[in-house]
């Protein structure tokens, strides 16, 4: 399987994908829209800056926007990413009366701690972290891992040849 963009680079496949698959993967999302507002806050809490590159530098939330449009990611998984953000906010409201992203950092950690003990929560945080790791360690052609910051942080050298364009 291969997509239209690869076709341009010499592949011979005829599979047709939605037009947006050829556009930049991590193009900016509208931050005030859900699930992005909640997930961006969760990304910051799961992976704070400091010695490691921050989710903001990595463009992790824009990358997640790409995941939401990615024809290779199962629709069910995309729904789960959105639903998880909703359930996290329900939990935050139940415990502290406010949406997750407006709580103070200590309370946000308490909510994370609580949901990580629930089956859906453990799965959801795992998913969020796995796409965050993609933003941290993917080739910058996908629009994340800005200036190869993730690779530098982990002293990682990529394999060659590197992709010249996203294959998806």
């Amino acid at each position: 399987m291969i997509n239209r963009r690869t076709l341009l680079f010499g592949g011979a496949a005829l599979l047709l994908l939605p037009a947006e698959s050829g556009a930049e993967y991590a193009r900016p999302v509208t931050m005030l829209n859900e699930p992005y507002q909640t997930i961006a806050a969760v990304q910051r809490d799961l992976f704070p800056g400091g010695s490691a590159p921050s989710p903001r530098l990595l463009k992790a939330i824009d990358y997640l926007g790409g995941v939401m449009r990615d024809p290779y990611v199962d629709e069910e998984d995309k729904r789960f990413l959105s639903n998880g953000a909703r359930w996290l906010n329900l939990q935050a409201r139940e415990d502290f009366g406010k949406a997750y992203y407006v709580l103070d950092s200590e309370r946000r950690q308490q909510v994370l701690q609580k949901v990580s003990g629930l089956a859906w929560g453990d799965n959801w945080l795992w998913s969020i972290l796995s796409y965050l790791f993609e933003a941290l360690l993917s080739d910058p052609v996908y629009g994340a891992n800005t200036h190869e910051a993730g690779w530098h942080w982990l002293q990682y050298e990529p394999g060659y040849p590197r992709p010249k364009a996203p294959l998806i």
Partner: protein, 568 residues
């Protein structure tokens, strides 16, 4: 319409030797492949596309399998791959999954061809001897070394198989310094360290470029042509004869057959239009599960249960490579500067294996053991990072703790791993059929896989893993662990169209021609009644060269002689 002598379904390791030999012998060959035609320039080391999104395999909601397993009370659990994400596809493209292999190549050993005679029956398993011997196959193993290109170095060890040539035609690829640590550990333990043969060219040869040591070999397509994949090694050369046409992006959904011959193949093109091709001889090599599926889906009034299924044998005795994997960690804190530098050498191959226990004795009985290959953990960074997500108590990590763990894993340690390959006992409980209620995007019933791993396989796998762990300990690794289970590796699959002399118990004759259908051959791993305790691809290639000779002999009205072998 163009006339073909041979029509081959699939273009991987089982298909390409037939295309190569027949086109060079002057026959007109057509290869039908459901995946795209990708070449060296299409392959990059893009983990997101290749490993995280699996772009080389079909999307499961369009094309999938139904998977059945036995629950503890013996009832059957059924799940579709679209629901479970359980992917039994391996690589849909010209050259098949051989494009993505790591190229660990081992010959099967003489004892693998007579498992039943050598070790007797195993309760609940259908162990048989092969209808041919190692000596029948040896010239073809040699042919693969020379034409596909296998690099290595022959060393003496207790299970070194007979060879008609002294050494490999190509020297080993560039090796990791850790291979020396491995050799020293084995010497101390009294084990025979073996340089692992590899289907990788160390330098330019055979009209292909040598290895660039890209560090990303297994699961990735090769951008130089050094990997002995079916397309680079054989199909391009078949095409160059001018007598071999390769049609990519076409899915073969049915073969028509009269009482004794296949008359046509039907396929859908990328636009969903159906086409028909005729040929004198047909060869199915779509990988074990899909080959069986096609033969079931080709049922007609004369073959109501599917082609080759008059005796209910089609799809039976599906096997995988049994065993599992293990690993240990080398911590920088325990190493001196030189050792750290050696450990972090990148790109070179470990190239080491052990076959010390290919046959071993326990409680007074001889048991068939297997092969252990040693390697570094796959360099895919996202998968490596994901392995660090839980602490030792199984708690999900985040924040600074997670970051510290990642930093340590990537910059202050390295994981050395092993893979165990032993026989998967063929049984009545593990087989392929089709599921009429689940269709793919073309409306064709999908393959249904019933899985069962015999407890014997796990016993042997654990025995071998304990030996491998001992080597890792001797080398100084920590956090050593292994997982041996009956979980099947989807990429190492065989059986379903057993070959044999007796049509009651096999689907193919010793030439891999279908019993009762004179012009239909199956040349992928489906023919294997038992799998040997090695990865399969060298055997698949070798056997497909043998099948090519059998087809040429049949076309010339000659006998191969294999069919005169008595059932043992």
């Amino acid at each position: 319409m163009k006339q073909y002598d041979i029509c081959i379904v699939g273009s991987g390791a089982g298909a390409s030797p037939v295309a190569y030999e027949l086109s060079r012998a002057g026959y007109r060959v057509l290869v039908l492949e459901k995946g795209p035609y990708l070449t060296e320039k299409d392959f990059t080391k893009d983990e997101i596309a290749v490993s995280r999104r699996s772009i080389y395999t079909p999307r499961l909601r369009e094309e999938q399998h139904v998977v059945e397993t036995y629950s503890s009370d013996g009832s059957i659990d059924r799940v579709t791959a679209a629901e479970s994400g359980w992917n039994f596809w391996n690589g849909s493209m010209v050259g098949g999954s051989s494009n993505l292999m790591s190229g660990y190549f081992h010959r099967m050993k003489p004892v693998d061809f007579r498992l039943r005679s050598a070790f007797g029956p195993v309760e609940g398993a259908n162990v048989v001897d092969w209808p041919i011997s190692y000596d029948d196959m040896e010239p073809y193993f040699t042919k693969v070394e020379q034409l596909v290109g296998v690099s290595g170095r022959v060393v003496e060890h207790p299970f070194q198989e007979r060879r008609s040539t002294k050494d490999f035609p190509f020297p080993p690829t560039w090796e990791q310094p850790i291979s020396g640590w491995f050799d020293t550990a084995c010497e101390t333990l009294g084990y025979h360290s073996i340089p692992t043969p590899r289907a990788v060219l160390p330098f330019d040869a055979l009209g292909r470029s040598g290895c660039s040591y890209s560090n990303f070999c297994g699961s990735y397509g090769c951008a130089t042509g050094a990997k002995g994949n079916a397309r680079a090694a054989l199909l391009e050369k078949a095409k160059a004869t001018g007598r071999c046409d390769i049609l990519p992006n076409v899915f073969v959904y049915r073969l028509d057959a009269d009482r004794q011959r296949v008359t046509a193949a039907h396929y859908f093109d990328a636009d969903g239009r159906s086409h028909t091709v005729t040929a004198g001889t047909f060869v199915v090599a779509a990988q074990a599960i899909e080959s069986v599926r096609l033969l079931f889906n080709s049922r007609n009034d004369l073959h109501p249960d599917g082609l080759g299924n008059a005796n209910g044998q089609l799809g039976k005795n599906l096997i995988f490579s049994a065993g599992g994997s293990g690993r240990g960690r080398f911590e920088f804190a325990r190493l001196n500067e030189r050792q750290r530098f050696e450990l972090m050498t990148r790109g070179a191959f470990v190239n080491r294996s052990l076959q010390e226990w290919y046959v071993y004795h326990q409680n007074g009985r001889a048991l068939k053991g297997g092969t252990i290959d040693f390697l570094f953990e796959h360099p895919n960074p996202v998968s490596r990072a994901l392995r660090e997500l839980y602490d030792d108590e199984g708690n999900l990590l985040w924040g600074r703790k997670l970051q510290a763990r990642l930093k340590h894993a990537f910059t202050a340690s390295r994981i050395f791993a092993f893979e165990v390959f032993n026989d998967w006992m063929p049984t009545d409980k593990c087989f392929v059929s089709v599921d009429e209620s689940v269709k793919d995007k073309w409306g064709v019933p999908v393959g249904k896989i019933r899985l069962y791993g015999h407890p014997h396989d796990i016993e042997v796998g654990n025995y071998l893993a304990a030996k491998a762990e001992r080597v890792l300990r001797q080398m100084g690794a920590v956090e050593i662990e292994s997982d041996i289970s009956s979980a099947p590796p989807p990429n190492l699959v065989a059986g379903g169209c057993r070959f044999g002399t007796d049509p009651e118990h096999s689907v193919l004759d010793p030439d891999c021609r279908m019993h009762g259908i004179a012009n239909l051959y199956v040349s992928d791993a489906s023919f294997m009644p038992t799998g040997g305790s090695v990865p399969y691809t060298w055997t698949i290639y070798a056997n497909a060269f043998r099948v090519a000779d059998a087809i040429i002999a049949a076309l010339k009205g000659r006998e191969t002689g294999y069919n005169n072998v008595k059932d043992s």
